[in-house]
Symmetry: C2
Subunit: 246 residues, 2 copies
DNA sequence: ATTTAATGTGTAAAATACACACATTCTTAA
DNA sequence: TTAAGAATGTGTGTATTTTACACATTAAAT
């Protein structure tokens, strides 16, 4: 998505006028990157959206995006947007799909490369947010600008697939988490109910959870153990699981 | 890839000069589509490449690509290239990844959307080919122009994954094929050996192979039965197998 | 102290994946 | 014509993975 809504707020974002000038001349096109930033909060999968205050798109929501700079790689543009909007570095990021329908953007031909990224909402909340940024339920979000619903759907489907093949979920959780939180995450993303015992068995058998010897605090029931994800163990084992190339 | 090599041969391809003019001005970029066209022949996975006759890239091979027209959708551009280069319509086509490194193209900023497509080589051979188009072994192909080796690798890995989830392989075979041919295809793409009995069992249990009541002809051994892929049966069943969305 | 609500654990059945051998059919060469 | 060679075609038992399922334990709240 192009940050057409708040040129004043962003130091680096381009305004609608800039985009129009980029694409106005014959045969010109603009290239943008849109980030689908997923979070997990209140046992629901969330996505970070910005509300357009431009009259034309009043009340509609957009993904976070920007034009790609002339001398900037695609991934670099995506990381720049993430840093700019969440204040966080080193987030999980994956290119998903490029959307280039001729009429997808009213300002002219704007081709956008969609990225899926994962953040720990609690971590993010500590940062000072721009006013118009909010977390929305992925399943119930409506009123998108442009083709951003389609982009969100593509990234959500990719996430559903990926999380069944790789342990991505940890990017959405605090460093220390209970198995219940982990299961809630999987159930929310995949929209299924899982058997608690089998879920625990599966994750323990994968053997990349480390017991922190700490317990949950301030929960209104018996506290569960807290675990953390052990990247070293995972790195050693993933080749075996995922065969060919991962 | 941009068809910089043979502007005279192509009715629709753009010449190097065209590309340079597209990207020469400040902040301009060009958008292209590159098709990784896979085939299967002599029990090996092949890819259709064009040899550059431009001095700068002498002896190097490129994927088939072209600039996207100003009023052309990305998929449409990919289909156009396939039609142009193979003479065939309705090929399997899937967008894989977009490559946009700043320096990936010597003519300036050219962002390319990579597509993976599958053709029946026998079918394709019936068409009159352009001189400089040839099928190459995927595993042993070297000397690529630009970042086309990287693009090929990305599409090959995607194909390896996809073929384990969906019955794509039929796009690479004649309408009627023996189980041995089908197994050879899987073994070639996945680079593994499979047990013949278990392979047969698995495909028969999927129940979308229809017996044609015909046998192989002109093989130097006992002929095998010929089957065809039953799309109707597949469509009815795939939801059950692939769960959420496929 | 009692109730409540979630954590933590094991086992049996079912489904799936894997390993494996021999008879059959057709071609080819003696 | 016959024998040898080479690939097709088929079934079963074993190992592994997935699924279903119930009860005792712990801490918080009343």
């Amino acid at each position: 998505m192009i940050t057409i809504t708040n040129g004043k707020q962003l130091r680096q974002g381009k305004t609608l006028q800039t985009i129009q000038s980029e694409v106005a001349e014959t045969n010109r096109l603009a290239l943008s990157v849109d980030c689908v930033i997923f979070g997990f909060d209140e046992n629901k999968l969330k996505v970070l959206l910005i509300r357009s205050d431009l009259k034309k798109y009043e009340g509609r929501y957009s993904l976070l995006g920007d034009l790609v700079y002339p001398a900037e790689d695609l991934d670099a543009a995506a990381y720049r947007i993430l840093k700019q909007r969440t204040g966080l570095n080193d987030l999980y990021l994956e290119q998903v799909q490029t959307f280039g329908a001729v009429d997808r953007h009213p300002a002219g031909r704007v081709v956008t490369v969609a990225y899926c990224s994962l953040v720990n909402v609690q971590h993010h909340k500590l940062k000072i947010l721009e006013n118009e940024l909010h977390w929305h339920d992925v399943k119930s979000a409506v009123d998108f600008a442009f083709d951003h619903k389609e982009i969100l759907d593509a990234c959500y489907e990719r996430l559903q697939k990926r999380i069944q093949e790789h342990p991505l979920g940890f990017n959405l959780l605090p460093k220390k988490f209970s198995l219940r939180e982990l299961q809630n995450l999987y159930e929310a993303i995949l929209d299924v109910k899982m058997d608690r015992r089998n879920f625990r068995k599966k994750f323990f058998s994968m053997d990349f959870l480390t017991d922190t010897n700490e317990m949950e605090q301030d929960v209104p029931h018996r506290p569960g153990k807290l675990y953390k994800f052990n990247y070293e163990k995972y790195e050693k084992k993933k080749k075996k699981w995922f065969g060919i190339d991962f």
